[in-house]
Every structure is written in C-alpha cells, then in structure tokens.
C-alpha cells in the first residue's frame, strides 16, 4: 500500500493529507490519465491481472477500498 500512497502523493503535491477515505476519483486525485497507470501499478504490485472490462470503480475510490480489494492477504 505504501507504493500506492506514494503514487498518489507524487501526482498531487498540493494534497496535505492523504486520508484512507478520500474519494480519489471525485476529488480528481486520480484523473483519467493517471487511472490507467494506477491500474498498471496495482497489477504489478499484486501480480494479479485486472480485467478492464470488469472494473468496479468503487474498488478504486478510496485507499481503504483499494487495500480491501487488492491487499487483503497481507503479502509483503
């Protein structure tokens, strides 16, 4: 999850605090260009391939959601 936080903070230097509940999509912390790379990053981190035809935006909406969806089996 650290890499995920770093990804968002690097693209949003004005972001004071990155809370786990910030709506990343509505706040435009992740815009459409960044979203593609965000998905690629998650694929790389989890080794899991994400089906773009089967995306549920709510899985990516907050850090809590991302953590629950992709990192529940706490792998190092």
């Amino acid at each position: 999850m650290q890499a995920v936080r770093e990804f968002i903070v690097a693209r949003n230097p004005k972001l004071d605090q990155l809370s786990d509940d910030l709506d990343l999509i509505d706040s435009r912390a992740i815009n459409s260009l960044a979203f593609v790379e965000f998905i690629f990053l998650l694929e790389e981190l989890t080794g899991e391939s994400i089906d773009p035809e089967d995306l549920d935006l709510d899985d990516f909406r907050t850090l809590s959601a991302v953590s629950a969806r992709f990192f529940t089996k706490e792998a190092v």
Binding site: S32, V36, L41, E44
Partner: protein, 292 residues
C-alpha cells in the same frame, strides 16, 4: 437518445459516398494470409515503436527488438479493435435519428467498413499470435457531465476523429515500409485507404458540431479544448502498454513505460504523430492554445 438541442447535421457527402461505393472490396477474400510471419521480420515499423529513438531501444538485444515490434503490433491492432467497438456503438446509436438523418447514407458505409476493419485486425492478431490484448483501463467517470448536450455530441465525434487520425499516421507509414511482412503492409494500406474517407467525414461533422457549440455558448469552447488535449494525451499513452514490454521479455515494464513516455525523443515523436490533428483543431478554433 434525446438530442433535442442539436440542429440536424447536414453535409455534402456525395464525393465521399461515391468513393466508398467505388472502392468497395471484399476483405474476406482479398488478403493473402501466410501461414506464419517470417522469422526475424519486424511486425511493425521499428521507428514507430514506443522505445524508438531512445537509448532504451539500443540497450535491447535484437531478439527483444523484434519481439517488441511483434507485441506492439498486437497492441496497436488491439487498440484499433477496441476503439472500433466503441465508435460503432456511438454511430449505430445515431444512424437514422433526426440529427443525423442527412448523413446516414454515409454512416452505413462507415459502419460496414469499420466492422470489416475490426475483422481483419483481429484476424492478424489471432492467426499469428493467437490472441488480442484486452481493452486498456479507462476512467469513464472522467466527466462530460458538465458539458451541454451539443458539446457532448461534439466530444463523441471528436474522440472518433482523434482515434482515427492517430491510427492513420501509423497506417500511412507502415503501408509502404518494405521491412515489414507483406500482410502487415497490406492491412495498413487498406485501412489507410478507407480511413482517409472517415477522417474527411469526421472533420466535417466535427466542424458542424463545433459551430453549434460556439453559437450556443462560446465559453464552452475552451472547456472542450481542454478535454480534447487530455484525450490526445490519453490516446498516445495507450500505445505504451506494459504488457508488450513484458511479453517481449523486457524487465521493469512499468518503470520503462514511465521513462519512455517522458523521454525527450518520445515527446518529440508524439508531437509528430499529433501534428496534423493539432493543426486541424487550432484552425477550427479549439486548439490547446485556448487552455488557461
């Protein structure tokens, strides 16, 4: 689809329709599909790969270079396939509706030709690599909701036009690249021939709808310009698929993608690819110079 605010799009399409009719071909019988692609041949022009002109290309083994042309060709054709699906959806939803009644004759040609393009791109990928790349993730929530319905119509056709112009840049080059296998050259050539009509049509529709947007509310034009610039960059970025690097046996795919996208030689390459489109948008009064 209620598009009440939009005036009917009326265009003079006689020439394009005649060309479409006289240039009609049977894709199912016209191509000479070899059993396999000859070993050692690039599948797309080396100068058009995402690492071209950078030290990252030079650092690859020859085997990796050829493999990259192979998987980036698959990516390129796959992008075409998924892009065509989207545009077919948009166009099929509008043909013979009031707004587009006058252009529906040409839309029939457009739909028929795009279906066939989708077919021969898919044939190439399936015959020679056994698969396509899946559609890349897109944030559809990236809003056009703040735009008027006529601006949203403009965006629909703008996206189609931009997609086609980018692809056409690649097709035009590869149609005559003698280093490629003949079947790759042929596919690019045939597509380029049809696309010239589609781009001409797309520009006419775009110009008509942009005028409607500007008449309704000139303040929306820079908003549209910003969206289009963003879409241009998004489209270029889809050419950089980390799956292609991985399949070509190149490590650190994501880092490589980031490096390549930001490399000065690649930024220059993007400018070349988008030059003609940007010129058109600026001349039409909706270029990136409008963005604050």
């Amino acid at each position: 689809m209620a598009v009440r605010e939009i005036e009917p799009v009326v265009l003079d399409l006689d020439r394009l329709e005649n060309l479409a009719e006289s240039g009609y071909y049977n894709p199912y019988s016209m191509f000479d599909w070899p059993d396999a692609i000859e070993d050692g041949l690039p599948w797309m022009s080396e100068s058009l790969t995402t690492l071209a002109g950078t030290e990252m290309w030079d650092e690859l083994t020859r085997e990796q270079q050829i493999a990259l042309t192979k998987f980036e060709a698959i990516n390129f054709f796959s992008l075409n396939i998924h892009g065509i699906r989207e545009l077919l959806n948009d166009v099929v939803n509008r043909i013979h509706e009031r707004t587009y009644a006058d252009v529906s004759e040409f839309l029939h040609h457009f739909i028929g030709e795009e279906n066939e393009h989708m077919w021969f791109f898919a044939q190439f990928c399936l015959r020679y690599e056994g698969r396509l790349y899946p559609a890349q993730p897109a944030l559809k929530a990236d809003s056009v909701e703040h735009l008027s319905s006529v601006a949203r119509e403009l965006i629909v056709f703008a996206r189609i036009l931009i997609f086609e112009e980018i692809v056409d840049y690649y097709n035009a080059h590869m149609a005559t690249d003698e280093s490629l296998p003949p079947i790759a050259r042929e596919i690019n050539r045939v597509h380029h021939q049809d696309e010239s009509r589609h781009v001409a049509f797309g520009r006419m529709v775009f110009t008509n709808l942009l005028a409607q947007v500007a008449r309704r509310d000139p303040a929306e034009v820079p908003v549209v310009a910003e969206y289009l610039e963003s879409y241009l960059q998004y489209s270029i970025a889809t050419l950089y698929n980390p799956a292609a690097y991985r399949d070509a046996g190149i490590p650190d795919a994501l880092a490589l993608r980031r490096r390549a996208l930001e490399h000065p030689a690649r930024i220059e390459a993007h400018e070349q690819v988008l030059k003609r489109t940007r010129k058109f948008l600026s001349k039409a009064g909706v270029g990136r110079e409008l963005i604050k």
